[in-house]
């Protein structure tokens, strides 16, 4: 395209912030080097995609040697599946810093491609990994923010504190009443519906999240089993997912699991998610057979977490939007 004479060629991030970003990446690598965690790289392109109905994969096509008639390849939404194959192959604790891709996500805190730090710790459960995540983030932010010691809240405690209800027991009517009491507008498509996961997300985003991570890191853990994603589920009433999220200044920074290692359970979740995609009218995608084979072979007991680097830099820089910390967001890419 010819120049339109506008300033759109210029970066949206100040050069000082890009320098801060480079320092943060350097310190992350030093942190893992000291702890003997191995840096790895896995493919961005995959013949399989995530089945999670909340994530939309971008796709492209390769044609050439090996695939003379062309092959659809999906851009990863996180490097989770190939990293788990490395764990199953005996790599030990590993980390990766890479670009990941999500269709349909753009806004103040979202860009369709963003930088993720993902790491796996063999022999850790999600509580030990929360502790390590806290240490890393506190170190990275030490020169920018003065924070109190991190806190851990269960998903239930966070909802009781900020929304005044028990997210595991509340009915759709009770979620609707809490929304009304807090003057939260309910989307037309949610009114009268008992999609409890969507109700929880409405109150989470509008009411709970803004109060999390004020002056300290807040870890939320023990998620409803329906939102387990790839975490182990501990049986009980209610059953709870060994999943956690990290928040600072109301911004979601990281998501981690005590990783599901059971191949049969993994296959069941893939199938359930593919069914949910069909019901929601989303495209069918191929599930990752390599991951299932690796889990069948055996993956060591481990916990893993993914942390958004752009949002971390935002918080370190005191920036309000992701465009202030990446040089060229999607509308200038």
């Amino acid at each position: 395209m010819l120049s339109d004479g506008s300033g759109d060629w210029q970066p949206t991030a100040a050069l000082d912030i890009l320098k801060l970003r480079a320092r943060i990446l350097e310190r992350i690598r030093a942190f893992f080097f000291e702890r003997g965690v191995l840096e790895v790289e896995t493919p961005i392109l995959s013949s399989a995609a995530t089945t999670d109905p909340a994530l939309a994969s971008l796709s492209t096509r390769y044609t050439g040697p090996l695939f003379p008639h062309g092959q659809t390849l999906y851009l990863h939404t996180s490097p989770e599946f190939p990293m788990k194959r490395l764990l199953a192959a005996g790599a030990g604790s590993i980390y990766q810093i890479c670009k990941v891709f999500r269709d349909g996500e753009s806004g103040r805190l979202h860009n369709p491609e963003f930088t993720m730090l993902e790491w796996y710790r063999v022999g850790f459960d999600h509580h030990r990994l929360m502790d390590e995540t806290g240490e890393l983030v506190m170190q990275l932010l030490a020169s920018s923010l003065s924070l109190q010691a991190p806190e851990k809240l269960t998903y239930r405690e966070a909802f009781i504190r900020h929304a005044g209800l028990d997210p595991h027991r509340a009915t759709a009517e009770e979620f609707a009443r809490a929304a009304r009491d807090h003057h939260i507008d309910v989307p037309r498509r949610l009114r009268g519906h008992d999609d409890l996961a969507a109700w929880r997300d409405l109150l989470l985003t509008h009411l709970v999240e803004p109060g999390l991570g004020q002056g300290r890191l807040t870890f939320i853990h023990d998620y409803p089993a329906a939102q387990a994603s790839l975490a182990r589920v501990q049986p009980g009433d209610p059953p709870l997912a060994a999943r956690f999220e990290l928040y600072l200044n109301g911004v979601e920074l990281a998501n981690g699991f005590h990783e599901l290692a059971d191949a049969n359970e993994q296959r069941t979740r893939f199938e359930r998610q593919l069914h949910a995609r069909t019901v929601a009218g989303l495209s069918a995608v191929p599930m990752d057979a390599h991951l299932l084979a690796a889990l069948t072979h055996g993956m060591p007991d481990c916990a893993g977490v993914a942390l958004g680097i752009d949002r971390l830099v935002m918080l370190a820089a005191g920036a309000r939007s992701i465009a202030e910390v990446i040089p060229f967001p999607i509308d200038r890419a």
């Binding site: 999670d52 909340a54 994530l55 349909g104 996500e105 753009s106 806004g107 103040r108 805190l109 979202h110 939260i184 507008d185 309910v186 989307p187 037309r188 498509r189 949610l190 996961a197 969507a198 997300d201 409405l202 989470l204 985003t205 509008h206 999240e209 939102q227 994603s229 999220e245 979601e252 998501n255």
Partner: protein, 187 residues
């Protein structure tokens, strides 16, 4: 019926909300990493001027409002209506008190205003950001004062009252910011 999906939301988009035309002021995409995406929208009802917050599930649609913004020249007021002319087509139309509202005090003949039309009827009249108006009444001030601090009220030819520096005199012409109602400079 034209509609917009949440992906088309941006500031300034004109939509129908509860039967009234409205304008999106701010659109925020919110989504938990593993959860439902929403659009939190601040939206201004163009008939009442009230701004409210609404939330949409991403992917929902909303009816488009048949609203257009046009630049038109203000001609005169007949005591009931404000009359405007399209400087290209010479087409004329009249706006009532609801559309003009408080902006009446900035309206000077020949100035080019932005008229928001809904189904062809003027809904909102916005004067230029900066207008140049003559002072018809102000107390004589101290000639030595150039600081701009303090100031005094001055009545303008259109009836608006603004604070001006003490050195500004009756009969002078000044520039005023119509969005803030503040004096900018001598014209």
């Amino acid at each position: 019926m034209a509609t917009y999906s949440t992906n088309e939301f941006k500031a300034g988009l004109k939509v129908m909300l509860d039967g009234d035309p409205a304008s999106i002021v701010e659109n925020e995409f919110v989504k938990p990493g593993k959860g439902q995406a929403f659009n939190r929208v601040r939206i201004r009802n163009l008939k009442t001027g009230r701004t409210i917050e609404r939330t949409f599930k991403s992917g929902e649609t909303i009816e488009a409002a048949d609203v257009v913004d046009m630049e038109m020249q203000y001609l005169y007021n007949d005591g009931q209506f404000w009359h405007f002319m399209n400087p290209e087509s010479y087409e004329q139309l009249a706006a009532d008190k609801n559309a003009v509202g408080d902006n009446a005090k900035w309206m000077k003949e020949q100035d080019v205003c932005i008229i928001t039309l809904w189904n062809g009827v003027p809904l909102v009249v916005e004067p230029p950001n900066t207008v140049t108006l003559k002072i018809v009444e102000t107390d004589p001030g101290l000639r030595g004062d150039t600081s701009g601090g303090g100031g005094k009220p001055a009545t303008l030819e259109t009836g608006a009252v603004v604070r001006v520096p003490l050195f500004i005199q009756n009969g002078e012409t000044i520039k005023v910011n119509t969005r803030t109602g503040e004096y900018i400079s001598r014209a």
